[in-house]
């Protein structure tokens, strides 16, 4: 109970506007410490903290320390980021064949999409309230219409078509967002070095797994009882071999992912003075996720070619048969959704370290 009460108090404090966060955290932790002396249970103190966090008027600048316009912007960004991320995951799940196509992982992603959607709803209501409080009812109506349009795209299943047709401009758009919206705290050198190792390694590993899925696992799963040489001989006989053959796709994918990784490492580590303030933690995270999502998308190209070739040569379906296909698709979806969240959602930072707590 003690640990749970302290956890609840910390969560409650963390949810508060930055201006009052440290003060209330210290106050409530001190109340937990003295609860017995006051004849109050620690659970009761935790409940009081959660009640305050829930009922605090975040629109009042006296409480949040933020002007209404800033509150509106932060909430609108949160609504857009969480809503788009939820939509991407929902559309991706639906386009691939629904939650059952991914097994237990699919259920997890569906829960995540629902949680993001709920967060988007809360943020939309908050943005609408802020717009109304600022005397901008037309803006409030536009926010609501935008949210309804997004829900409509997902529910009407038009989203899958938009995602496929708009994949290239969509990714270009995400890159733009990742570069423009991800200001904030500059990443330390230690973090930049760690990211420069982890991100390219993960991207290359994903590319390798993806290519093994496309050229080995999936063909064997689609045509049980046949060996790989027999499958490729059948493809060649039917004139359905992948353009250039697997070797070309492997080299091309390796080259492109390596170039992408090199660009990422260059941005993160090259001693260019002008880049010093651009290397924020959020930007490095968003670009790293984009590299991962882009890698999965890249692997989709030979995958599509192989899938159609096998379907035409052996009269099978064009979809994935190996579970690795679902895993890779989920990875790509989560990477793109993560990019959107990191780009859009901005949490107001607390006071810099070392500054005295507010009186």
């Amino acid at each position: 109970m003690t640990r749970l009460a302290e956890f609840a108090v910390r969560i409650a404090a963390r949810s508060l506007p930055s201006r009052v966060r440290a003060r209330y955290r210290e106050e409530w932790l001190a109340d937990l410490d003295g609860a017995a002396e006051a004849g109050v249970s620690r659970g009761s103190v935790a409940f009081g903290a959660l009640s305050t966090a829930t009922t605090l008027d975040r629109l009042d600048p006296a409480g949040s320390g933020l002007a209404l316009g800033r509150v509106f912007t932060l909430r609108l960004r949160a609504a857009a980021g969480l809503g788009l991320a939820a939509a991407l995951l929902a559309i991706g799940l639906d386009a691939y064949g629904g939650t059952p196509a991914f097994g237990a992982l699919g259920l997890g992603v569906a829960v995540l999409a629902s949680a993001l959607g709920l967060g988007a709803l809360v943020a939309t209501v908050g943005a609408t309230r802020a717009a109304v409080a600022a005397g901008r009812p037309v803006v409030a109506i536009l926010v609501l219409l935008g949210a309804l349009a997004l829900v409509g795209v997902v529910v009407s299943r038009v989203g899958a078509i938009l995602v496929i047709l708009g994949a290239v401009p969509g990714i270009a758009g995400l890159v733009t967002l990742a570069l423009l919206l991800t200001g904030g705290r500059v990443a330390s050198r230690r973090l930049r070095v760690a990211a420069s190792i982890v991100v390219p390694v993960v991207a290359l590993a994903t590319a390798a797994l993806g290519l093994v899925h496309v050229f080995v696992w999936n063909p064997l799963a689609k045509l049980p009882g046949m060996t790989l040489p027999e499958i490729y001989a059948g493809l060649a006989a039917a004139g359905e071999s992948p353009v250039g053959g697997p070797r070309v796709w492997v080299l091309l994918t390796a080259l492109l992912v390596t170039l992408g990784g090199a660009a990422y490492v260059g941005f993160a580590l090259l001693p260019v003075r002008r880049w010093a303030t651009l290397r924020t933690r959020r930007r490095l995270t968003a670009l790293g996720l984009l590299l991962l999502g882009g890698t999965v998308t890249l692997v989709f190209l030979p995958g599509f070619s192989m899938g159609m070739g096998i379907a035409d040569a052996f009269a099978t379906s064009g979809g994935d048969a190996a579970a690795s296909g679902g895993v890779l698709t989920l990875l790509g979806m989560l990477a793109f959704a993560g990019t959107v969240v990191v780009s859009f959602v901005r949490v107001e930072p607390g006071p810099p370290q070392g500054e005295p707590l507010p009186a």
């Binding site: 003060r23 210290e26 106050e27 932790l29 001190a30 109340d31 410490d33 003295g34 609860a35 006051a38 004849g39 109050v40 009761s44 103190v45 409940f47 009081g48 903290a49 009640s51 305050t52 009922t55 605090l56 008027d57 009042d60 006296a62 409480g63 009186a359």
Partner: protein, 103 residues
């Protein structure tokens, strides 16, 4: 100081308890004084402070060990408004009693 959008019975109890204190008092002690749950008292204190009825400060008593506590007191304007509110509520209760007694 801003007027309160609502004056609930719990808010009146907190104001009355603060009026009874001659020095800044620990927030958790108000919970015991009023008999109200923390789920009511904590948000009330936050609202009162934001509206300027009360102010708060850290307890810097060197004689007491342990984490420092947050102490609350009524502001000058807040004390005046609190007295009016509490007196007004007491008057309303008194005017209701003869009616109830006669029912």
């Amino acid at each position: 100081m801003d007027p309160l959008s609502r004056m609930t019975p719990a808010t009146l109890d907190v104001l009355a308890a603060l009026l009874d204190e001659s020095s800044p008092t620990w927030g958790l002690r108000l919970v015991g004084r009023t008999g109200r749950p923390t789920g009511s008292v904590y948000p009330i204190l936050e609202r009162l402070e934001r509206a300027g009825w009360i102010s708060s400060e850290w307890d810097d008593d060197p004689a007491r060990t342990g984490p420092r506590r947050r102490l609350y007191r009524l502001t000058t304007d807040g004390a005046e408004a609190a007295r009016s509110a509490v007196a007004g509520a007491a008057g309303s209760r008194a005017s209701l009693r003869p009616g109830l007694a006669g029912a």
